[in-house]
Symmetry: C2
Subunit: 344 residues, 2 copies
């Protein structure tokens, strides 16, 4: 037997119109009525019926979602898929999720995506803070407009974001090193990298690398570390790059890759079983999982991107619909270890 506005109106001797004004603290209520109503509201523990509420204000609210996209399959593909599911759930709550996709390597694309998002006049925004300075500018604008926003993937701590859902990147790197070297005879560790220039980017792979190196320094301080750079935009160059790398570093027994593009080197791995490399990487892209199942890769560390994006969207939806902020602002999500036997 839930209490309703009508009950409150009766108990406090006013009309439901007045109760409504008090509950939404709109103007036009005398001090006396206000307090009478508030008293009853508090004492009765009134909670609005969200169904009736959503039904009455049939107005759709828009939630903008900024997503980077490169041409090829990568981490963001997974996020994208998760976003669709979360969007379906959100539409049940009268919230319309609009995806805005931009080229992850282009600052201009990011800028115009921000502009596009603002043009939607959104009630909330979800984005990974890809470009640090530009994100700050955008966030400042959102703050001005009073639009809440949530970060996924990584965060910029000094900003006024409502919630963050992502991986503890440093720990992930640390874990990665532990998995890679656990009980092994480590001779030398190699890393495959994609981009040299990371300045101005808010990129968890950098932090992962730091965590990784920390573990090595703690457990194998004197072991050799080496890195090779490959160019994803030029697939033909990858094989020679790796060949060269292993020629000049024949002692490498363990290999790591901090971004999601592990699949770029699996062809090479398949051709060189004689190296008996132990390999650990990140993110459960289909191609990566396939390599895992083949035994080319020992383990993948994954972060359930679907849950991250869903968490961020849900948090914003709850804020918009129920007016309730999230319990935790920073939500570091579980790092999952995938081996060939639990890849599902």
């Amino acid at each position: 037997m839930k209490i309703t506005v009508k009950d409150i109106a009766r108990l406090s001797g006013v009309s439901k119109g007045t109760v409504d004004r008090v509950l939404h603290n709109r103007e036009g209520v005398s001090r006396k009525s206000f307090e009478k109503v508030m008293k009853v509201v508090r004492e009765s523990g009134y909670e609005p019926n969200i169904y009736a509420s959503l039904l009455a204000k049939h107005g759709k609210r828009v939630l903008a979602l900024l997503l980077p996209r490169s041409g090829k399959a990568d981490y963001w593909t997974l996020v994208d898929a998760g976003a669709d599911k979360a969007a379906a759930a959100a539409s049940n709550f009268g919230v319309d999720v609009k995806k805005i996709v931009y080229d992850q390597y282009s600052l201009d694309a990011f800028r115009s995506a921000c502009k596009e998002a603002l043009d939607l006049n959104p009630a909330g925004v979800v984005l990974p803070p890809m470009f640090k300075e530009e994100t700050k500018v955008f966030a400042g604008r959102l703050d001005e407009l009073g639009i809440p926003y949530a970060f996924v993937d990584s965060r910029i701590e000094e900003l006024n974001y409502m919630a963050f859902y992502g991986m503890p990147a440093f720990s992930a790197g640390y874990l990665c090193a532990a998995l890679l070297t656990d009980n092994q005879n480590v001779s030398a560790v190699g890393a495959v990298r994609v981009r040299r220039d990371k300045e101005g980017l808010s990129d968890p792979t950098v932090t992962r690398r730091n965590g990784f190196i920390r573990y090595l320094d703690e457990h194998f301080p004197d072991k050799k570390k080496a890195a090779v750079f490959i160019d994803p935009s030029d697939p033909g160059s990858i094989e020679p790059a790796l060949d060269g790398f292993f020629e000049s570093n024949p002692d490498i027994s363990h290999l790591v890759m901090f971004n999601s593009r592990l699949y770029l080197i699996t062809d090479w791995l398949e051709k060189h079983p004689e190296r008996k490399l132990r390999v650990v990487g990140f993110d459960n892209l289909e191609a990566n999982v396939a390599a895992l199942k083949k035994g080319l890769v020992t383990a993948l560390i994954t972060q359930r991107p679907e849950q991250q994006i869903a968490g961020a969207i849900d948090a914003l939806v709850n804020l918009l619909v129920l007016g309730k902020g999230p319990q935790k602002r920073d939500n570091f999500m579980h790092m999952d270890i995938l081996t060939r036997y639990n890849a599902d």
Copy 2:
């Protein structure tokens, strides 16, 4: 611009009352009207507004939840916690989840719990099929009454359950063996067990053990396997039991435990670091995770019991509220690998 019953009524030239009768396939509709309406419904892709629906039939439905419980912390503690969260979510959809807790070792307790559940006159039931024969009887009764039910943890395949959420127990055992022995010098493998008599029980630990043994047979066919039984109800007996076991099996290097009570032996492990045992177990009970973080245990395989119970409850809620069955009847959930570095 969503389509409503009124739209359908207009488009098919009948009244919304008739549309309503068609949508809920109640009687009192002529063949002709029925088909006219159905045609429009299909073509328009009509979906009811669940808020309006819930608002109109404000009737609460009850969902019964049977949960075993022993005195001590175990796997079911985690399930219980997850159930509370899922129940909160369900109450948003006008479904009242009632927990019925019974002693997991008592058949009588299970029986009376079933009776209690039926007395609630529930619209649905969620339960782990702990006692096989009794569960069959109960399920038969539910089938008679037309009450849908969902299994968690394990399932009885021949029954008419609506959905199952659980772990692929055989694969879990297989994975467990892979984790335990991966790249190790295995001399002999020991198992710690709790109950000797499993007949009449529907218990995933048995299947886990089978999966475990399969892996060993495939990869280390000639290695020795040994088992020790401990009695959880008599904590004092545990240490001597283990002492005796390792005295007569000094070559054991790897240890496994198939149920959730790994914490029962962590004291002993802590006292015997000289054995350098590699240990793998199941379920993220707090005590188990603590042992993991201390380094006493190498890895835990966990099954996110909160998500299992939540999945089962959600499936039933969706059925009750939206009238939609689940996409998949059997939902094998991801096995999570926990090490000291991703225990959170």
